[in-house]
Symmetry: C2
Subunit: 646 residues, 2 copies
């Protein structure tokens, strides 16, 4: 029962307080355990009983010394090198003295500095992963699945190691032709929550020591000082530029700096890896409209925010709107961006005689599909801004305030299934119908996670949730299929734990699609009643059993004359039950109502079979010319996936 | 320019008022005509010019007599035999003196008497249909398409004619085996709006006089007195009981009394025939939740309401809620009905020893699918209520207040496309996902009709509407397909003018389906820029060109083990253009932007072709065992359709 102390402390309290006779108190506590957890299975009850018995066995008195003798001072709340705002405002809030802040200490325009979670080292886990350079194959899986962006990879010239602290680990960069390059996987142990998703995602095993992988959990205390130094040094290494890596592959994307880090999400969260990836790929031009829900809480829980900036100072702009209007809110981003760009283009055309028609044409006709395109346009705009400085024309001054809008921005509308399937669906549908270039990312936990596990229309049949205590009677709403009905909406259903490569492909294709895009991302969750360490494995089972087929619907765009429906997963290879009964949300019904559980599971299996038929018929109707999109990703190579992460 | 007087009166005003020189004024009026109607085509401009010229030709002075010499008294606002409420309240409002009414004159509980439109004879048309018994084949088409329920059919024993006034028309009832029965088609000429849909729907032509059908428009004035008497006599003839006719056929349904009559809808409205039919079929057990829109206006425009009651005093309960919550509002009807029924069933079981277990079982297990089933249950409940009167048990008194809930009610959630596709879609989707037994009827005019013609997500590509002045760029949202994705929702797409029989089948199947049902009904509209007389013909063209395929998706229910998708229309047989360019909403773009009109029309034709492919593949995936549903309709006979109505 790691991390749970209430039963233990309650037992100790009654054992020594004398409120009730000891034997009676313990008996009543055990009765309460049965009443609370009985329907979740006997195993949980027995683990609680064992916890109570062991608590009593280990209960012993500690003598309180007359005065404090420790010489350890409490660590400063934020380090000395933190920015002034963090020291003057954030740290005061962290200390619980926010009410003492004067109004004048807060930003006047409602914007709030980002990238502040890095200054709040929470140190909540006693065990952390430790990297084994000798075993590592540098695949990038661990960095991708880490929900808190604690695992970072960089390659760099070996000469940089001259300044490295003692114990800084590195390995030669895997791959031919780079003899001087070194590779380091650095773990921010003070930000780690100890979820172990990284260990489970690691495909590299030691040949000598069974059970040892390239990343393994160890006790933190002995290494925390060393790793703090290592991290500080690691951060002095130069950023790996997007242009230098093939970000269309999992092993390439690990080198891109995540701009969503150290959030307050649960240990092992299945949502945040998608957000981290989003910022790695498009963070330098990203605007996020975030619906209410888990992601709005861990995404913006004062005093710090996990949304961050890169070395150039670019990072996502983020705001949270209401549950019921987030899609519309994000559409508003797009409309205002488009209006600004339009104004900038008008001014640019008007100033062509002074700026030169070739320059103006190059800017206006720039493709801006891939990261390379966007980087090239940024150089053109920097050049334009310099040229504008020397022009006396008042329109030049106006264009200088608007010129950055000539670089394409990436608008993402993000939320959970409660938002997307239910409360915000009317708006989501309206935005899908708008034809505008926005991307919608649904972090689908199949339940209202943040408010305590109420059923949503994403909750699958036979699953138990609040308001569906007897098991959900109706099938899961097929949001993706409903979006496909529009014809011009890019739609992908993904599960990182089943195919990280397909996840990556979907993100690139969605972002490059010039109209609305919808990505529905399977997100394992504590509300499922699973051991979160195995969250990614559970994602894979969801796909293998056909509950969560992976697909990408690519509408006509980028010279594609016909739509394509790519079915990325294979026909169901295991029964639904093999997946579902790993999860308490399904299994508890088999304890409380075994007949009903059987009936619902059979219906849910029918749902799976029918869904597969529907999707294969879509794949037949709209065959894909290649699995990788054309024009949508940086690379057109048919690359092998790096294997599943679970 | 029948019915339009502004251009005529304006011309006359400027011709005699001397405000401007006459020639200049007329020239300016013609300029204004070009500016206003130019983009709608030269024909409209020329018709306006002709109107102006003829107004000037016919302008002549009428001498005003010194005193009134007419002996004609204004007719009373409501007849002497109207109910007290109509005389004391409704008539006062009709007279425009509603402010004089004391608050105490209005119902205290917020309910409002229905069936009041019949007391407000509006006499708005100078031409009305006249029936020719000698030509009529008694098919029922005219009664079905009449938007104002002005045309009624009854059969009756010939002896009843003894009391008939002079000039009361009748014919022998068509069909063998009923030598004594007579048939009369009675027209309420004072309620007729002169739309001529009935004439166009009539399939019977005179062999002697070309152009003469079984129903023809004539001048009203000479016949109004006669027809008033005829109608009064007609209403004394006994109602034809549902049990006596085969209401699953168009020729049968004409005998059922509509409980939606004489509404304030536009002449030739394409929506109201569906509502009239709804009340003919299920009016005696109907609850309607009406979204804001045309239907909420003509459905409840004080002082009168067209929702009415039958001879037994049973009729629809109706209320209007907001645009954005009407589906939820109607779901609330269902939830409270189900709760009341549940309570009644509990009491019934508890009282079984006193009431007799056979009686109780018969009531609890009654099928209640068809009208006959419902009528049989009503007799059981009447019997139960009598039995309860003699019981002293206090639960018997309680059950008496609830017993009527043991008869199945029919909940219909009604509105236009603005509600269903846009503003209320989030709620509509939620209700579809609820699994509850409600029926949703979408009167789809493909535009916000009531608020002046704004584009909705139902507006088709290439159509012009407000907010889509350059032609709608995106395809029409496929609401039906999105509902089919739920699997357990009955979905039908209908167009009365293309197949009245399919419309009828869909209504029966939807009502009998034990879960949610959605009917999407093509509704021609003045907003389409058509001659409304040909509205039903335009419906048929919409189906023939493939813009509006007719289908019914039947989920698993009533012993059906697999879903069935019945494609009720054939492959597109004419180009989209043949349908679309009959309508100003499409055609005006070809005047203002011919290139763009061509481009959009080609894309819209693609939409049609793709949609047909999708629907045929659904029909292949879920083949139907028969075109008529099993258990859903009163009859299982494969009946021929009576032909199209256009």
């Amino acid at each position: 029962m790691a991390g749970r102390i209430n039963t233990i402390m309650q037992t100790c309290f009654f054992a020594i307080s004398g409120v009730l006779p000891r034997e009676e108190a313990i008996a009543r506590i055990k009765d309460a355990v049965v009443a609370t957890y009985g329907r979740k299975g006997t195993e949980l009850v027995e683990r609680n009983f064992a916890g109570i018995d062991r608590a009593l066995e280990n209960l012993h008195e500690i003598a309180l010394p007359a005065e404090a003798t420790s010489t350890r001072e409490p660590a400063p709340l934020v380090p000395a090198d933190a920015p002034a705002f963090v020291k003057d405002v954030t740290a005061v809030m962290i200390a619980g003295r926010g009410d003492d802040l004067p109004v004048s200490a807060l930003p006047v325009d409602g914007t709030y500095p980002s990238g502040t979670s890095r200054w709040e080292k929470r140190n909540i886990s006693d065990i952390v992963p430790v990297w084994r350079p000798d075993i590592c194959i540098q695949c990038g899986n661990c960095a991708m699945v880490c929900p808190h962006a604690v695992i970072r990879a960089r390659y760099y010239d070996g000469s940089a190691l001259a300044d490295a602290p003692d114990g800084f680990a590195s390995a030669p960069l895997a791959g031919r032709g780079f003899p001087n390059l070194r590779f380091t996987l650095q773990i921010g142990v003070e930000d780690c929550t100890g979820c172990e998703l990284c260990v489970e995602a690691c495909p590299a095993h030691s040949l000598e020591a069974a059970g040892t992988r390239a990343i393994n959990m160890e006790t933190k205390a002995p290494i925390v000082e060393r790793e703090r130094r290592n991290l500080a040094f690691f951060e002095t290494l130069p950023d790996n530029k997007p242009a230098g890596v093939d970000a269309t592959l999992v092993r390439g994307v690990q080198y891109l700096t995540p701009l969503f880090e150290y959030s307050g999400a649960c240990a092992g969260c299945g949502e945040t890896p998608y957000l981290g990836l989003l910022t790695q790929l498009f963070g330098d031009r990203l605007l996020v409209a975030n619906a209410t829900g888990c992601s709005s809480i861990y995404g913006g829980n004062l005093p710090t925010t996990p949304w961050s900036v890169n070395a150039q100072g670019r990072g996502p702009a983020w705001a949270n709107s209401l549950f019921e209007d987030n899609a519309e809110f994000g559409l508003g981003y797009r409309l205002s961006l488009d209006k600004h760009r339009e104004q900038a283009e008008e001014l640019l055309r008007a100033l062509a005689p002074e700026l030169g028609s070739v320059r103006v044409r190059d800017i206006l006709e720039a493709a801006q599909v891939t990261q390379d395109d966007v980087d090239a346009q940024r150089l053109r705009i920097a050049d334009l801004e310099r040229a504008l400085e020397s022009l006396a024309d008042p329109r030049a001054r106006q264009l200088r305030t608007l010129a950055s809008h000539l670089v394409r921005k990436s608008v993402w509308i993000v939320g959970g299934d409660g938002w997307a399937y239910d409360i915000g669906y009317g708006g989501l549908d309206h935005v899908l119908a708008s034809g505008r270039n926005v991307n919608l990312l649904v972090l689908d936990t199949e339940v209202y996670s943040n408010t305590g596990g109420q059923a949503s229309k994403a909750t699958p049949r036979a699953g138990v949730a609040k308001f569906a205590a007897g098991g959900k009677q109706s099938r899961k709403k097929d949001l993706g299929l409903m979006a496909v009905a529009y014809g011009d909406v890019y739609v992908a259903q993904i599960a990182m734990g089943a195919s990280a490569q397909q996840t990556l492909d979907a993100f690139f294709e969605a972002e490059a699609h010039p109209g609305p895009s919808l990505i529905i991302a399977y997100s394992h969750c504590i509300a499922h009643g699973i051991n979160m360490r195995f969250g990614m494995r559970q994602q894979k089972l969801a796909v293998d059993c056909g509950h969560w087929p992976l697909y990408r619907y690519r509408p006509v765009a980028h010279g594609r004359q016909k739509p394509e429906f790519v079915l990325d997963s294979t026909a169901p290879s295991i029964p639904l039950k093999t997946y579902a009964y790993n999860e308490i949300r399904y299994k508890m019904l088999s304890y409380t109502k075994p007949e009903e559980a059987r009936r619902l599971l059979a219906l849910a299996q029918d749902d799976v079979d029918q869904r597969w038929q529907v999707y294969t018929s879509l794949a037949d109707r709209w065959p894909a010319r290649s699995r990788r999109g054309q024009g949508e990703t940086g690379s057109h190579v048919e690359a092998p996936a790096v294997g599943t992460l679970g």
